[in-house]
Structures are given as C-alpha cells and as structure tokens.
C-alpha cells in the first residue's frame, strides 16, 4: 500500500458477505443420519458450501443454517433421501 494513497478499490475474502443468508430460506434441509451412506454428494453439490462432512461418527453431515439458502439441491441429489426439505415455518 502507500501512506499517501488511502482509498483503493480492494477487498478481502469474507464469510457471509451478503449477510446471514440463512434468512433467505422458505424451506430448510433436515438431515437423517440413520439413512446417510456418507457419499459426500450433498457436500459436493451445495452451491454455497454450507455443508461439512465427516463431522462425527453419529452426525456425518452438518449444515450451517446461518448461511444455507434452502435451495434444496442437497435433498435433490441425495441418493437415499437422507435429507428432506421442510417448510421453514
């Protein structure tokens, strides 16, 4: 940078740059660990990357509801319907 030039059109990576996008949801994904076959497809296809896999023995998938937009792709691609979409309210 420069001690003279103070205003530059620069940015840094930021989680939640558009805010807590979980507030966009009208439906939310609900995960049933008993059906899960640990294929990682939900993690692979989530557009936002809100899904973590390999979290724990009992709960392989974890969804970050602060940012999940409720698009439903995870439920759509899950081969065993371990994720289903339910109305947010």
């Amino acid at each position: 940078m420069s001690e003279y030039v103070k205003y530059l059109p620069l940015a840094k990576p930021k989680i939640g740059v558009a805010g807590k996008t979980g507030s966009w949801r009208t439906e939310r994904p609900v995960y049933d660990p008993s059906k899960c076959i640990k294929c990682d497809l939900c993690w692979l296809y989530c557009p936002e990357g809100t899904i973590d896999v390999g979290v724990s023995e009992n709960e392989y998938v974890r969804i970050d509801y602060d940012y999940c937009k409720g698009c439903g792709i995870c439920a759509n691609v899950c081969p065993v319907k371990a994720i289903r979409m339910v109305p947010e309210r």
Binding site: P13, I15, G16, V17, T21, Y45, C71, G72, N76
Partner: protein, 295 residues
C-alpha cells in the same frame, strides 16, 4: 486421472453467504475451481453474474485473488497477467471466468486473439445461456426456442457453437463440462492447468432464475441436458475429439432420453411448439454427427 470425490480438498475457496441466487450454478462452479486448483488460481472476472456474486467490498465471497475487469477485456488482461507471472517466476494458473457475453459476444474478439496467440491462460465460459446478470436477455449462447426478456416468442437463431470455434483455433485443449458432473469438470481443469498455452473449458450452468425452474433442480437439469444428448461432454486435443465417459452412452441415439424431459422442466421453454422440438432434435443429431466425425 480420475478424480475421486473423497480426495477433493475441503478448504473453502468460495465462502458461504455469497450474493448468489438459491441453487446458483456459478457458485457451484467456483467451488469446483477452488477444489481443482486451490491457491494456484488467480481469477480474472469480467462483468457478469460473478461480478455481483462476490458481494460488496470490502468483503468478497471468493477466497482467491480476483481481478475484476471491463466486460470485453478479460482474455487480454489475463494474457498480460500471465506474462507478468511468468516473468516474476510465480507458478500461477491464470483463469478467465466469463459468462455468455464476455465469451461469445462482447468479449469474442479478445477471446479469439488470446487463443490465436496461444497465451497461457484457461478461459472458462460459465454458460447460463443468456445475459443473466442484466436480467435474462438473450445472448448468442441462448438456445433455439428459449424465452428471454428480449426473445418473448422464443429465440429464432441457433446457439453459437463456441467449443467448435475454439477447436478451429487449434489451441492445445478444448473441453466442455457441466456443473452436474463436478468430478469431470475438476479433472478437466487440472488437465488444462498442466498444459502450457491457451485452454478453453465450456461449462454448462443451468440457471434457476433465468431458465425458470425450481432451485432444487439445478443438478437434475444439468444431468438431463447430458442424458438427452443436448449437452455433450468432450475434450479435444490437437483437433481430435474424445467423448467424455458421462456422455459416451448418448453417442447412441437410442440411449438418449427424449428432449421433452429436459425442456418441460424449464419455464423458458413453455411456449415451445412441436416444430421447435423437431428442430431441436435435428440440432442434437447434427451436433453429435459433427463431433463424432472429429473423434
């Protein structure tokens, strides 16, 4: 080199909470670029959806160096940037992440120039088949028959065949990909990154907002495009085409699903007639014919 899902890195190069629409294929595509190349990538982004998906400065949803550039200039900027990186000895993969307009229309000249010069960049066309960022206006990559805000009774012209045009430029590597098949895309990205010279990857990106379908169906529709034969996954090196494994079965016309299965899920094809469907089927047959001749 087959890519196994379990081996893909879990680092986030695209961060949650972006400004992308629900079910956005560009967001998916950016995650795959990150998985394929990680910290080696510098991304040049001309005007398009991703300009907005990044969100508002001083924050950004992309966790990689990004240079936002004027609409038509991406390939030229990338050429200069790649030259600089080589001069300073930095092992960077310079990527252009461009939509319809920046690839096929306003950016077409500079794209062709960079390809002809064989500049060391990867041009990814993230093809959502219209000018989505400005509100779903038609582009040269909009398919025949599709509704857009500037083609209310369906587009009358055929989709411009960018991959074939790039093959005719005789660049080292041309490929098509789809966000419905991430491992195939990632494999092609890594392949491209290992080659010196101009590489082109055309990424099919079904857009829920512009194509009028439920955001949960982005992947389903991307797969149907391939399963109906309407989108062909292939690679071309030295003018020789290799149909990719996910598309191979559909070289056989009888294995292709009827294209209505693909079309009827999308509101943009609601006004399509029986003649239009026949026209589209002919186009699919022709596209396969031409491509198979190059194999």
């Amino acid at each position: 080199m087959v890519v196994a899902i379990k081996t893909l890195p879990k680092e986030r190069y695209f961060l949650p909470g972006s400004a992308a629409c629900q079910g956005c294929p560009e967001a998916m595509g950016l995650r795959y670029v990150g998985m394929a190349l990680g910290k080696k990538a510098i991304i040049v982004v001309p005007a398009g959806c991703t300009s907005v998906i990044q969100g508002l400065a001083p924050g950004c949803a992309v966790n990689l160096p990004v240079l936002n550039v004027p609409f038509a200039s991406a390939d030229a900027v990338a050429s200069g940037l790649a030259a600089a990186k080589e001069i300073v000895g930095e092992d960077a993969v310079v990527i252009v992440w461009a939509g319809d307009g920046a690839t096929a229309d306003i950016g077409f000249g500079p794209l062709s120039g960079a390809a002809e010069r064989n500049d060391n960049i990867i041009h990814i066309c993230v093809d959502n088949e219209a000018y989505m960022n400005t509100g779903i206006q038609r582009s040269s990559l909009t398919p025949y028959g599709a509704w857009t805000t500037t083609t209310w009774t369906g587009k009358k012209e055929a989709k411009k065949e960018l991959p074939l045009i790039m093959i005719a430029h005789k660049v080292p590597y041309v490929a098509t990909a789809s966000i419905g098949y991430p491992t195939d895309f990632i494999q092609k990205l890594r392949k491209a990154a290992s080659i010196k010279g101009f590489k082109y990857i055309h990424l099919h990106a079904p857009c829920p907002t512009g194509w009028r379908f439920d955001p949960s169906k982005t992947v389903e529709i991307a797969r149907l495009a391939v399963e109906t034969g309407m989108w062909i996954l292939f690679e071309a090196e030295k003018g020789k085409v290799r149909i990719s494994p996910f598309s191979k079965p559909y070289a056989d016309k009888s294995k292709r699903k009827p294209i209505e299965q693909y079309l009827r899920l999308q509101g943009r094809f609601r006004g399509i007639t029986k003649e239009d469907i026949k026209m589209l089927e002919r186009m699919v047959d022709e596209a396969w014919e031409v491509l198979l001749r190059l194999t």
